[in-house]
């Protein structure tokens, strides 16, 4: 996975017509495209949840002190004795060519692996500085794989800020894993995108009850137990930010199942139903399993809907979950959408979500944070979904906020989580109504 492929994926996020099974191209939308200062994390941040998903993997960022500081600031790394991620910090000697950066990297990787013999997969993660100095991590991975004689698999991808935004880091990590997936044309349902283990278990169980037995996940829980892929594979994306992964799986013969994403009752139901239908499950069987869940999920949402209904919501671009969240919060919680910001809009992957959004929803792609905050202040929304750098300043201006980072670290997928998901947005509003500092 080199920079050229990445750049290509970024420049042309459409899936080039390989998605022939999906609905026709989305209707034209009014989209505000902006560029300027972006108040978002880079792709390195996704290491925080990826390393938890695969406890036998280590993520080694090849970058600067800034990269190390970013990951630890985003992750609160201090709680770990020895985290399964770290940074190979480039020094002046590496840049001046006094030390061969490749030899240095090899030395460091060997020290690391000697210290952590339980590691089975090592991800070399490219960063802004490593990309700019054109340190070829693909070659480094190849070389290290030869030297390590299969004891540890070394993969590489870029999580750099010049090429990836936040969740796109996971997309690139999964793409790096796809060439190692064994080929099999056996029928199976492949769920792509990291889910909390408990949520994954639940979804697999539900598919089993509908009669879909072969359900596998990418990334797997053990990095060495990669699922197979081939002509019989139906891919269901659990996350809307996996454009490059979808493309890579399609290239391996898999078929992508178009669906909204499993956030909220409606999205989760449609997502599971689409997966089951693609595996040949009869609608009656789908309904028999899912209808009680839908009923229960709606009950769980109801008290939060009372808090949220009629409230005006502004989503700043962050995780690329924004369109799915907006769909959930407007259709199931009754919120009014002021603006739905997303760092990138992959229309092909989000066609089902775009269809479900209320007509005339203001979507913005990219960011000029100052201008966007001007719009926030003018619109005076009841709730703003934003990153940690903006939350307290907006609260101080009297605007309630919901930290977006919680949405990538909490189990929010599936019908059973819909109530919890609604609660995350209702809580800041409930809290405001609770607090009083008068006599």
């Amino acid at each position: 996975m080199g920079a050229s492929t990445l750049a290509e994926a970024m420049a042309n996020p459409m899936l080039d017509g390989v998605l022939d099974a999906g609905p026709k191209v989305a209707p034209p939308l009014e989209i505000l495209k902006e560029s300027g200062q972006r108040e978002v994390f880079c792709g390195l941040t996704s290491i925080v949840w990826l390393h938890r998903r695969m406890p036998d993997a280590f993520f080694l960022v090849v970058g600067s002190r800034t990269c190390a500081h970013l990951v630890q600031s985003a992750a609160g790394v201090m709680i770990f004795a020895e985290p399964r991620f770290g940074t190979a910090i480039l020094g002046e000697r590496d840049l001046a060519g006094l030390a061969d950066a490749n030899e240095e990297l090899d030395r460091l990787v060997k020290e690391l692996l000697a210290r952590r013999p339980e590691i089975r997969t090592l991800f070399l993660v490219g960063s802004c500085p490593s990309e700019v100095i054109k340190l070829d991590l693909a070659k480094a991975a190849e070389r290290l794989n030869r030297q390590l004689l299969g004891q540890v698999t070394v993969l590489n991808y870029s999580g750099s800020g010049i090429e990836t935004t936040f969740t796109q880091g996971e997309d690139q990590a999964l793409v790096a894993m796809t060439p190692l997936m064994p080929t099999s044309d056996e029928p199976q349902l492949l769920i792509a995108g990291t889910l909390a283990d408990a949520v994954e278990d639940r979804l697999v169980d539900l598919f089993g009850r509908m009669g879909v037995g072969a359900v596998r996940s990418l990334p797997p829980r053990r990095s060495t137990e990669l699922p197979p892929v081939g002509k019989g594979t139906k891919v269901l994306l659990a996350q809307p930010f996996l454009s490059a992964t979808a493309r890579a799986l399609i290239a391996r013969g898999a078929e992508l199942i178009p669906a909204p994403y499993p956030l909220g009752v409606e999205g989760s139901r449609d997502w599971m139903a689409a997966g089951a239908a693609a595996c040949g499950v009869a609608p009656a069987q789908v309904a028999a399993v899912l209808d009680p869940l839908v009923e229960r999920g709606r009950h769980a949402i109801a008290p939060h809907r009372e808090t949220l209904a009629g409230k005006r919501l502004f989503l700043l671009p962050d995780s690329q979950l924004e369109l799915s969240l907006a769909r959930f919060l407007s259709r199931e919680c009754g919120m009014e959408l002021v603006e739905v910001g997303t760092p990138y809009l992959d229309r092909q992957l989000l066609v089902s979500e775009l269809d479900l959004l209320p007509a005339g929803t203001q979507i913005s792609e990219g960011q000029d944070v100052e201008r966007q905050l001007d719009r926030v202040r003018r619109a005076k929304p009841d709730l703003v979904v934003c990153g940690l750098g903006l939350a307290n300043p907006l609260e101080a201006e009297g605007i309630a906020t919901k930290w977006s980072i919680e949405l990538v670290f909490s189990p929010i997928h599936g019908c059973d989580q819909a109530g919890d998901l609604a609660e995350l947005f209702a809580r800041p509003l409930r809290r405001r109504s609770l607090l009083s500092f008068t006599a």
């Binding site: 750049a7 941040t45 600067s64 800034t66 970013l70 709680i79 020094g91 802004c128």
Partner: protein, 531 residues
Amino acid sequence: MELTLWTYEGPPHVGALRIATSMEGVHYVLHAPQGDTYADLLFTMIERRDKRPPVTYTTFQARDLGGDTAELVKRSINQAVERFQPEALLVGESCTAELIQDQPGALAAGMALGGIPVVSLDLPAYSKKENWGAAETLYQLVRGLLKDQIPPPGTPAPSAQRWQQEGRRPRVNLLGPSLLGFRCRDDIREITGLLDRCGIDVAVVAPMGARPADLQRIPTADANVCLYPEIAAPVCSWLERSFGMATVRTVPIGIGATIAFIEELCGLVGLEPPHFDEPSRLPWYSRSVDSTYLTSKRVFIFGDATHAIAAAKIASQELGFQVVGLGSYSRELAREVRAAAKELGLEAIITDDYLAVEKAMAEASPELVLGTQMERHSAKRLGVPCAVISSPLHVQDVPARYSPQMGWEGANVIFDSWVHPLMMGLEEHLIGMFRHDFEFVDGHRSHLGEGAPTQTSEPQAQATPAQAPPAAPTATLEGLVWSADGEAELAKIPFFVRSKVRRNTETYARERQLQVIDSETLYEAKAHLSR
């Protein structure tokens, strides 16, 4: 190339951000890629700031690299100046921008910005770190704003006692307090009050709360107080060289240091130090009988140089602890830390590898750790109480209440926050006395805020000594065997010193090449070690 799992300091541009965000009226244009905005959350979350840091990130992307990133820098500068109308502009770059060599400082110098002072920051991201970056930024900013006021060479240095002729009180600048520094907000208030009681005014506090115009008033003071050398030492030295301003270098943390600080400052400006009538409770609290249990408590200290050195002095002289480890990640001040360690018969640990610090901590088997947030976590893993004394911070190190480290009240705060994690003297005594009672839960650690570390599910009250299972022999890794009666004797020792006794006894046994440790060995070791 260096493997880092966790770092005490961020990159140098984060230091510059600390200066810009600490001040008013300054804006920082940072040439940096997407993602570097993470630094904002250090201020908005850890410091709970209600404003965004005054930074504009150029946010260049891969597709910009082929084009004109210099144009992006200029556009960002123009937009920032127009929107924020700063009184001074800092221009710099983060690690990645340093590689593409757009030289944003030079670009800014060539722009018409309506006469705003522009300070170009050259912070080498691949060799320097956060505190260095903060110190360099403060120095460059002060130098840039004062360059027109520098007296010609040969001008005699102004007397620090000229206030006597000018019919006013003496006044000094407090230099170094910044956001993400340890308790700076409250230290300023404490020291300002302390100086007021000495009859001394504060002219400028910088960078915290200062505007660029305030920095231009720095030479109007009689002396500079270098409160936080990590941040202020270079600028104080420059003010000495260029303006002949004297610097007070004693950092007033602890009773002795506060007295020395007052004496140094009053001596410099020609004032008689005032008499403070029992200004702090620390000396009495330390002498009171409950504190006898503090005697020779083993304490391990790690932090920035200023706070680590101060802590070592307070611990050894004012609380009667035994300092068993002293170190710092501040390489710029390593010499001072080494000297302080040498005085205590120790070799200083100068490193930014937290695992090396944790290892040294474990080897020193301390009873109290004074460190940064990282040492708090390491100490937790080792089951040792800890108080945080230095940056890097966590949100809980920015308390709502007034809690300085400096001056008289700072000494009170230090007494409480270092002693409270330990068991109070009488309580420790009582636990020793009643530990064989069946109601007593072994491992009970009082108010440390955690439950008993082991055996939480079993009904403890039934485990009377008579019913307790007999001790079984155990073996260490290198084959040293604890006999059953050795283990049984060890179990009678209070749990909070048990691991230390075990370690000491094993060391004793190894030195004598014993294979088996029984109760006699334990007593022999005890006698040997208490000599």
